[in-house]
Amino acid sequence: MQRARIFIILTFIVSLILLVLDLPGKIDFRSVKIPFIENEKKIADFVYDPANISIPLGNFIIQKDLSYRLGLDLQGGTQLTYKVIMDDVEPDLRDDAYESSRNIIERRINLLGVSEPVIQTLKVGDEYRIIVDLPGVSNVSQAIDLIGQTAQLTFWEGDGTPVASQSGNTNPLYLVMGQLIGSNPVPTDLTGKDLQNASVVFDQTSGKPQVQIQFTNEGGRKFSEITKRNLGQIVAIALDNQVISAPVVQSEIVNGTAVISGNFTPDEAKGLSIALNGGALPAPLEVIAQKTVGPSLGIDSLQKSLFAALIGLASIIFFMVYIYKKEGFIAAVALAIYTIIVLFIFKLIPVTLTLAGIAGFILSIGMAVDANILIFERMKEELRRGKPRDIAIKNGFSRAWTSIRDSNITSIITTIILFYFGTGMVRGFALTLFIGIIVSMFSAITITKNMLLIFENKENIKKK
C-alpha cells in the first residue's frame, strides 16, 4: 500500500507540472498575486513562455521550444511538392544536386521570412522529390515563383557583330539579346557564382527598387575587365531565360559593386535578391502537387476540433461515472492524467498536430477507456465469485492484461503500417494514435491500478 500511495502522489505532482507545461501560450506569473498578503507578493518572478524553455543544468542549458506545432490544415498555408528534373545531370552527380537543391530552397524560404517551414526530401523510384511546407504564407504565387526559379545569373557582351533584325538562333533569350548587343552574344565568365551578396536598394532619384550586387574578389576582377572592354556599350544581364537588365557601361567599375535596374516591383526586387543570395539551383524544378489551406479555414478547423475533443472527453467521463460509479470516477481521473501526459508528449517530440491527428488523439481516448472497462468487468466477475476486494482487483488486472495487450497490439500494427505508407496527414494520425495507445496501456495498468489499491485500503480501514 505504501508503494501505491507514493506512486500516486508522485503521479499527481508530475501531472500538475505537466498540466502547466501543457498550456498553450504564455503565462505571466508576475501578474499572479497572492491576495491578502502584505504588499501582495507575486507567486513567482518570471514569465512562462512555452516557446523558449531553457533549463540550466550545471554547465549545460537545455533549450527547447515547447509550443504546439500545428499542421497546415490547422494554421493555414501551402504544401508544395517539387520534382527535380535530373535529365541534364550526370547520374553520379545527382545525389549532390539533390542535396544542394534542398539546401538552396531552404535558404530561399528562410530569406523570405516564412516561420517554421518544413522541407523534406523524398525519393520515390527514380524521382527526386522535395516537399515544402509553408505555414501561414499569404502570397503563395510569390513563394512558388521564388522557390521554383533556377536563378542562374549570367552576363553577356557583344562581340562586335552589329545588331541584326533576324538572328539564326530561335532561343527567345538570344533573340532579345540579339536586338540589344548584336546577333552573336557571348557569355562572359562572370556568373551568379561570383556573387557575394545581393540586396534591395532604392534609386535616389526615381525611388524605383533596384538590386545591388556585391561581387567576390574574383568576381570583382572579372567585372572590372568586362566593363573596361565594353565601355559605352550594352552589357546584358540575364536571369535564366530572361534578360532582366541591359545597361550601357558608363565607366570601368573596379569596386566590385553593380546595380541591376530593370522595371522591378518591390516584390520582384526582393524575390530577385533572395534568389541570388540563395544561389542558383543546379537543376530545374517542377511543381507536381500543391495543397493550399486558407488561414480562416485553418483556425476554424482548430477551434472546432478542440471543442469536439472537450465534449468527447466530458461525455466519456460522465458515462464512466454513471455506469461504474466509484470506480468510474477513478477511471475518469486516470483519463485526465492520461490526457495531460499525452499532450505533453505531443509538445516534447514534437508532433505536428493535424486535424486527422487530433481525431486520432480523441479516438485513443476512447480506446484508453476500453482498457479500464476491461479491468472493471473482470473485477466485477471476480467479486461475483465471492473473492475479497483486494484479490478481485489483482485478478481483474492480470486477467484483463492479456486481452488489453493482444487487442492493442493489432491496433498498433495498423498504425505502424499507416505510418510507413502514409504521408502528411495520415502520418500525423498514425503517430497520435500510436502514442495514445501506448500511453493508455501504461495509464490503465499503473495509474488506475494504484488508485484502486489506495481507495480499497482506505475502505478497509474505515470498515475496521
Binding site: I288, T292, K304, F307, M367, S407, M425, V426
Partner: protein, 312 residues
C-alpha cells in the same frame, strides 16, 4: 442469449449486406478524390453572399481551355470545382477572370496533383491494406497458438479476418452509395479510416476470442464447443457494448462539432465501428462454430476431443 443457435440468422443478414455492398460497388463504383486520380480541386466562397451559379462558373472556366470535371456545392455560397491538373498561375487566372465578370470569389483551399502521384497513392493504399490483413492474421494465429483443440489457431485468425473483410466491404458499399447520393469521394483519409477500423474490429474480436480461449482451456464442465462460444459471448457482451458506446460517443461529438474537412472521415469511422462491433460479437464466433461443425461432419470425433470429454 443464444447467439450461436441463432447464428444462421446473423450470417444471413451479413450475407445480404455484403451482397448489397458488392452490387453497389460494382454498379456505382467508388468516387475517387484527386489524390487517386490526379487533377485539381479549387474550393471557393462567394464573398458577396450571393448564390453561385455553378453552370455559369463551369462555362467560364471551360472557356479558358480547362476541362472541368464537376462543380459541387457545399452550401449555396461554398463551391468545390474539380478539374484537370492546373498550375497555381492558372488558378489565379481563373479567379481573376471570374471576379472580373459576375462573380466575387475567394479561394478557400486549392489542391492540385499530377496523375503520377495519383497512381502511386492507389498502389500504396492497396499495399497497405494487403499487408495489414496479412499481419493481423499472422498475429492472431500466433497469439492463439496454444488453442489447437478443438479448433486450430489458424481458424481463429481466419475467422477474424473474414469478419474484418466483411466490415470493410460493407463500409465500402455504404460509401459507394454515399458517393451517388451525396457526392462523397474516397481519399487517403478514407483509407486511413479503413485501416484503423480493421485494427479496432480485430481488437473487439480478440476480446471475445480471448474469452473463448480461456474457457476452452479450462472447460471444467466439458461443454460442447458451441456452448463454450455462447457462454464466452454472453460474458463479454457487456464489455463490448460499453467500449463501443464510449468510442461512438466520442466520434459523435467529433462528427457534430468537428471541422467539415474530416466530417466524412468520422462518418466512415462511425459506420465501421458499428459494423465492426456487430461483426465481432455475432459474426466472428458464428464463423468459428460453423467451421467446427462443418469439419466435424467429415471426420471422426476421436481426432478432436477424447470421447469422454465430449458431451453432446
Amino acid at each position: 442469449m443464444d447467439i450461436v443457435g441463432k447464428r444462421r440468422i446473423f450470417l444471413t443478414i451479413s450475407g445480404i449486406l455484403m451482397l448489397l455492398s458488392i452490387i453497389f460497388i460494382a454498379v456505382f463504383g467508388l468516387r475517387q478524390s484527386i489524390e487517386f486520380t490526379g487533377g485539381s480541386n479549387l474550393q471557393v466562397v462567394a464573398t458577396n453572399g450571393k448564390t453561385i451559379d455553378t453552370n455559369r462558373l463551369k462555362n467560364l472556366i471551360e472557356s479558358q481551355g480547362i476541362k472541368v470535371i464537376s462543380v459541387t456545392k457545399n452550401t449555396a455560397t461554398d463551391v468545390i470545382i474539380r478539374m484537370e491538373t492546373i498550375s497555381d498561375e492558372k488558378k489565379n487566372q481563373i479567379l481573376s477572370s471570374a471576379n472580373k465578370s459576375e462573380f466575387s470569389l475567394e479561394e478557400k483551399t486549392f489542391d492540385t496533383l499530377g496523375p503520377v502521384i495519383g497512381q502511386e497513392t492507389q498502389i500504396n493504399s492497396l499495399k497497405a491494406v494487403g499487408i495489414a490483413i496479412a499481419a493481423i492474421t499472422l498475429y492472431i494465429a500466433l497469439a492463439f497458438r496454444k488453442v489447437s483443440r478443438p479448433v486450430s489457431s489458424w481458424k481463429f485468425g481466419i475467422s477474424a479476418i473474414i469478419a474484418l473483410i466483411h466490415d470493410v466491404v460493407i463500409v465500402l458499399g455504404a460509401f459507394s452509395l454515399f458517393g451517388v447520393l451525396f457526392g462523397v469521394e474516397i481519399d487517403t483519409l478514407f483509407i486511413t479510416a479503413i485501416l484503423t477500423i480493421m485494427g479496432f474490429s480485430v481488437h473487439d474480436t480478440i476480446v471475445v476470442f480471448d474469452r473463448i480461449r480461456e474457457n476452452l482451456l479450462k472447460n471444467v464442465h466439458n461443454y460442447t464447443f458451441a456452448k463454450v462460444v455462447n457462454n464466452s459471448f454472453n460474458e463479454t457482451l457487456v464489455r463490448s457494448l460499453n467500449t463501443s458506446i464510449t468510442v461512438i460517443v466520442v466520434l459523435l461529438s467529433l462528427l457534430i462539432f468537428g471541422g467539415e474537412s474530416i466530417r466524412w472521415f468520422i462518418a466512415a469511422f462511425l459506420i465501421g465501428i458499428a459494423i465492426g462491433t456487430y461483426s465481432s460479437i455475432f459474426i466472428a464466433s458464428a464463423i468459428l462454430v460453423e467451421w467446427y461443425e462443418f469439419d466435424k461432419r467429415g471426420i471422426k470425433i476421436g481426432k478432436y476431443f477424447k470421447p469422454a470429454n465430449l458431451k453432446k
